[in-house]
């Protein structure tokens, strides 16, 4: 039903350039898309809002390319993923990715022990692609098949990223005293 409603709204945007219909789509998906970026940027609210805004603008300008082969949300996550990777590529010149990962992995911050675990701190342990897969799978409840469609790689590769990310996160959480209780 929700998917049918999405298709109806998309059709109105494509055919009539109905901005009100697009406004409804933005209101519906702003929370998951902003949350997705918030997790990918490890809690940088301003940056995640900028990226989310770029995502919706790009979705609006390219909405005619939505062929209904997947759900609108999957297509939107695909756009968001591309926006994020464009951002990563543009930033790579100034910041060395590997150095940041090593820094994060070797970090000795223990301030959250015994307190509520900080999700952004724990996501810093992961590589970008692992973070994307983990966030989509656990936070946004996207299936592995759909994640494969979003990131454009085989399901086996997604499973590997998920498995590695899962191990790293579980180890980190346990080391910091989180046992789920």
């Amino acid at each position: 039903m929700s998917q049918l409603n999405d298709i109806s709204l998309v059709a109105q945007v494509v055919v009539f350039k109905n901005t009100r219909a697009f406004d409804e789509l933005v209101k519906k998906y702003q929370s998951p898309i902003r949350r997705f970026f918030l997790n990918l940027t490890c809690g940088d609210g301003e940056l995640s809002d900028d990226l989310a805004q770029d995502t919706f603008v790009k979705a609006y300008t390219n909405i005619a390319s939505f062929k209904n082969l997947s759900s609108f949300s999957t297509w939107l996550y695909r756009v968001a993923y591309n926006i994020f990777y464009d951002y990563i590529r543009s930033r790579k010149d100034t910041t060395d990715l590997e150095t940041r990962e090593i820094d994060a992995a070797c970090s000795t911050e223990q301030e959250n022990v015994g307190e509520k675990m900080d999700i952004y701190q724990s996501l810093k342990m992961l590589k970008e692609i692992e973070r994307i897969c983990i966030t989509l799978f656990y936070m946004e409840d996207v299936s592995i098949d759909k994640i494969a469609g979003i990131v454009g790689c085989p399901t086996g590769t997604v499973k590997s990223h998920l498995s590695r990310g899962k191990d790293k996160l579980a180890t980190y959480l346990k080391q910091n005293g989180y046992d789920g209780n």
Binding site: T19, R34, R35, S122, M139
Partner: protein, 108 residues
Amino acid sequence: MMETNDKLLKQFFNEQKQDIEDNGFSRRVMHSLPNYSKHLSNLWVSFCTTIALVLFITLNGLQAIAGALRDIFISIMQNGVEHIDLKSLVIAAVVLVVLCLRKVCSLA
């Protein structure tokens, strides 16, 4: 082991999951869409044109314009010929000649 980790992570992410309030985000997105401002200006122009047309029709605009034109024509016919200002005519002629010359020069 894998299942335990899976369960742990599911619980962890469920605890952290929260909806983000809009707080004007949708409005900002809509304002940054290409053609949105153009669409708004088109709407505003249409609105103003409609108001102008309604006022024009209800206040007998056509009749008022016809009356004003008629008055101007009559006053020109009655007074214009008697009070011709030669100095103004000469200045107007000189300006026209200069403009014509400039046009010819630019064409050449």
